[in-house]
């Protein structure tokens, strides 16, 4: 069979009988999940789809205008308490995030092994987990930390790596007995039991099992500061982050022809990302989302001037320095540019919040 046969061509294959018979065969087999509530959130939401980025940032940006949208009077006024709620800025400490662990909890893990390069790091806001990736040539090691409540879901999912589904092979990881499964001879994953409220999963690809097990011995548990210290200089530290965000916002404002007054954003545009790509995605994404919202509101209000302003600012996104920098690493900028094109055509992009992670 042609390895690249299209679905349309598949649909024309003379297999109608086999197709119909298979359907009836399947539906004659016993069902095991009938008691499950049909509308329940599928287990797959937690096991197949890792929670989307920037969940806290959604709340931060969804509630008010930024400095440049003129607003229509229905949005909070200047005295309505800027940047108060939902802002994930460091030091907020308001107690509104009950599950956020202490900064010195050592549930993250880093790799201490020369020759491996950090290629990616990402942490969700509010102590909802994170991940760090390392590469050496074609080999890749991904370390993910998740809230302990997700441990059983992930184990259940990984049990299906083997047929019949089974627990993983026991393996010591950072002092605890973890479970290991192999997707193939050179692709393995291990899940560590919950400790300090978090579970670790480590996946190694492009390496034999023995090499994977050796690397596990070189992992080290760290707290937030330890993670930051383990990152190369190209990553943004906590002390540098505010300045980098300011620089990104200034660049966006300049490219869009706006005169920005620092600190006027309402609510504040913030991020906790150390990786410039993800930091840029959260900053530019929040800006783009606000302008798309502005466009929608202006259209609904019949305010063509405001709508055109939003079109113009979004059209300038191809010149936003932060997006031009990110373009070399991933497709997030293209997502914003596509949405800008849709807005320019007079359309509110469907599902833009999901697409931009805002």
């Amino acid at each position: 069979m042609d390895p690249t046969i299209s679905d349309d061509a598949v649909g024309r294959l003379p297999i109608a009988s086999g197709r119909a018979e298979l359907l009836e065969e399947i539906m004659s087999t016993p069902v095991t999940d009938r008691p499950t509530a049909p509308a329940a959130t599928p287990r797959g939401r937690t096991t197949w789809l890792v929670p989307l980025a920037a969940a806290a940032a959604v709340a931060a940006v969804a509630t008010g205008p930024l400095w440049w949208p003129s607003g229509d009077g229905s949005t909070p006024g200047p005295g309505d308490g800027p940047a108060a709620q939902g802002s994930p800025t460091a030091g907020s400490g308001s107690g509104s995030e009950p599950q956020a662990p202490a900064d010195d909890a050592t549930y993250r893990a880093v790799l201490d092994m020369p020759g491996w390069t950090v290629t990616h790091v990402y942490e969700e806001a509010g102590g909802n987990g994170g991940e760090i990736s390392y590469e050496r040539g074609e080999a890749l090691l991904e370390v993910t930390w998740r809230p302990g409540s997700l441990h059983d879901d992930y184990v259940e999912d990984r049990r299906h790596i083997v047929d019949p589904p089974a627990d993983g092979a026991p393996l010591q990881v950072l002092g605890l007995t973890a479970q290991r499964w192999s997707y193939s001879a050179d692709d393995h994953t291990v899940i560590r039991p919950v400790e300090d409220g978090f579970t670790l999963e480590v996946r190694g690809s492009g390496m034999p099992l023995s090499g994977f097990e050796d690397l596990l011995d070189d992992l080290r548990l760290v707290d937030e500061a330890g993670l930051e210290n383990a990152l190369p200089d190209t990553f943004v530290t906590t002390s540098e982050r505010d300045a980098v965000v300011e620089e990104m916002l200034d660049g966006i404002a300049a490219a869009s022809g706006q005169e920005r007054v620092a600190g006027e954003e309402r609510p504040a545009i913030t991020s906790e990302q150390a990786d410039r790509y993800h930091l840029g995605a959260e900053v530019a994404g929040q800006v783009a989302c606000a302008w798309i919202e502005e466009f929608r509101a202006a259209r609904q209000a019949g305010d063509e001037e405001r709508a055109q302003e939003a079109v113009d600012v979004l059209a300038s996104s191809r010149q936003w320095p932060v997006l031009r920098e990110m373009d070399a690493r991933g497709d997030y900028p293209e997502a914003i540019w596509d949405y800008a094109d849709e807005v320019a055509r007079g359309e509110v992009p469907e599902g833009f919040r999901g697409g931009l992670g805002c």
């Binding site: 299209s6 690493r329 697409g355």
Partner: protein, 204 residues
């Protein structure tokens, strides 16, 4: 209405028939593009839909159903590769029919042969993310669902894989060719349009 739906069918059966009708070609296509022998694709398709039938309450609503099914098919495929041709208990007729169908030389393909050949020279990780993008027509968010990763991981990974693929093509970023535009696979979803048309799927 789906063919064969009768009065004896309840809501569950109707729901599954709809799922099967909407995604059978895509799941079988997913399998056919990844196996050496067409009849093996019958096993993967049968086991994938068997999982969906047994766990119908866990199948997410559209448009996430297809990435979910691809994720199941991916795991079934991995199991089959480990089991060296273990056969499904179901789908005998489909297996026989697939074993005898001759590839249609004029069949639509999802990409040109030189791109396929270049993809084979990439790492398994790069191949997988490119296949899901170019063959199944998934956008990064959907690929993330299939692979169980987050979108922010998939986006740069896909971008790097495309760059590596471009570097392997004989004429650089713009592969030669004057053939017809590759047909599209996958559901039409709003998404991220590519910057290099030959290496990315067309959407809409």
């Amino acid at each position: 209405m789906s063919p064969g739906s009768g009065a004896r069918d309840g809501p569950r059966e109707d729901e599954f028939r709809r799922l099967y009708a909407a995604h059978f070609d895509a799941v079988l296509g997913f399998a056919l593009r990844r196996v050496d022998r067409p009849e093996d694709a019958a096993d993967i398709t049968a086991d994938t839909f068997l999982v969906a039938w047994r766990r119908l309450a866990h199948v997410p609503a559209e448009p996430e159903a297809r990435p979910w099914l691809y994720g199941v098919a991916r795991r079934v495929l991995a199991n089959q590769r480990r089991g060296e041709g273990r056969r499904s208990a179901l789908g005998d007729r489909l297996r026989r029919e697939l074993a005898t169908v001759a590839p249609d030389p004029s069949a639509d393909v999802v990409q040109r042969a030189d791109v396929t050949a270049a993809m084979r020279r990439l790492s398994g990780r790069d191949q997988e993310v490119l296949e899901l993008h170019l063959w199944e027509g998934l956008e990064p968010r959907e690929i993330a669902e299939v692979l169980g990763l987050s979108t922010v991981v998939v986006r740069p990974r896909l971008s790097r894989a495309r760059a590596r693929l471009r570097a392997l093509l004989p004429d650089g970023p713009e592969p030669p060719g004057n053939g017809p535009e590759p047909p599209r696979n996958g559901p039409a979803t709003a998404g991220h349009l590519p910057s290099t048309p030959q290496l990315t799927r067309k959407e809409r």
